[in-house]
């Protein structure tokens, strides 16, 4: 199978763009003082939808490794799977506890919970753990990220070169 077909490349670049956006959104969501509580909460809800999209996109990998987990698979795939499962649990914890302590988003739709120190502390603890796990997650996919970014930059520079060359070529063609 040729892994450099335009279709595969296009999918990889779409993944890179989505994952990049997810990473930036996560980073911004970890700083509610910067965004203010309202944006923090809505961004968190949007992030949960983005995480579901991320999982749906990588569904075949999830199912494939889950089937082979106890039989024949590489150690790195096993490590990745365990880490991703942990990340899923932590993200679900962040989103759920975030909803339980929501001050803007849920009250906006008429749902209000009693303030609870337990959910609040768990929310902060889980977000700290998530920073660490995201670091490891990105590190384990670092080679792919670097390669895909290089390909994206190469494509972008090719397009820019073609765009810059177009008027010159047109002028030459007219002459």
């Amino acid at each position: 199978m040729n892994i450099h077909t335009p279709e595969v490349q296009r999918r990889a670049l779409t993944n890179l763009a989505l994952d990049g956006a997810l990473f930036v959104a996560f980073l911004v969501a970890t700083a509610p003082r910067f965004t203010g509580i309202a944006i923090h909460e809505w961004l968190g809800i949007a992030l949960s939808a983005a995480v579901v999209t991320h999982l749906v996109i990588h569904w075949s990998w999830i199912i494939g490794v889950a089937r082979r987990f106890f039989n024949r698979t590489t150690g790195s795939a096993r490590l990745n799977y365990a880490l991703n499962t942990l990340l899923f649990v932590v993200f679900t914890t962040i989103i759920f506890t975030g909803l339980m302590i929501s001050e803007t988003a849920l009250p906006w739709i008429g749902i209000r919970f009693e303030p609870d120190r337990f959910w609040r502390q768990l929310h902060h603890l889980a977000s700290d753990v998530a920073v660490f796990l995201i670091g490891v997650h990105v590190a384990l996919h670092w080679r792919w990220t670097v390669n895909a970014t290089r390909r994206l930059l190469a494509r972008f520079s090719r397009k820019t070169a073609a765009f810059n060359a177009a008027p010159v070529l047109r002028k030459e063609a007219q002459q």
Partner: protein, 126 residues
């Protein structure tokens, strides 16, 4: 249709986690292991969360922040440009973790290769 089933499966898995969290809340197993809020803040009638990022540094400097949750959900209602420091700090932490893991990856790969099942040896053509 396939995508909808996948989303349902993901949400079902998330529900299992939520159920476990609610169960933990009921049994108070986790509640006991979480740190108690600072006594000084409790005495002042303010529930101060040491676990809120930024909260630790403040308590270390001995400053009393009267407005409770440093990052939290009381003071952070309005956006503040200075809050970007927290995002930068997290980016730095992630950067350090990436550097450490990527730096250690040759050793890890060698270890994981040892753990993975041996590949079937290629048979010579008959």
């Amino acid at each position: 249709m396939k995508t909808i089933w996948r989303i349902v499966a993901i949400l079902a898995a998330a529900l299992v986690v939520v159920g476990a969290l609610i169960g933990l809340r009921q049994t108070e197993v986790l509640a006991r292991s979480l740190p108690e809020p600072d006594r000084a803040h409790l005495e002042a009638g303010i529930e101060y969360d040491r676990f809120a990022p930024g909260g630790f540094e403040r308590s270390e400097r001995g400053e009393f922040v009267g407005d409770g949750f440093a990052r939290g959900h009381h003071t952070a209602r309005e956006p503040d440009a200075r809050g970007i420091i927290e995002a930068v700090k997290n980016l730095l932490i992630i950067g350090v973790i990436i550097a450490l893991v990527v730096g250690a990856s040759p050793i890890t790969r060698r270890f994981l290769r040892r753990c993975s099942p041996p590949r079937a040896e290629a048979r010579p053509p008959a």
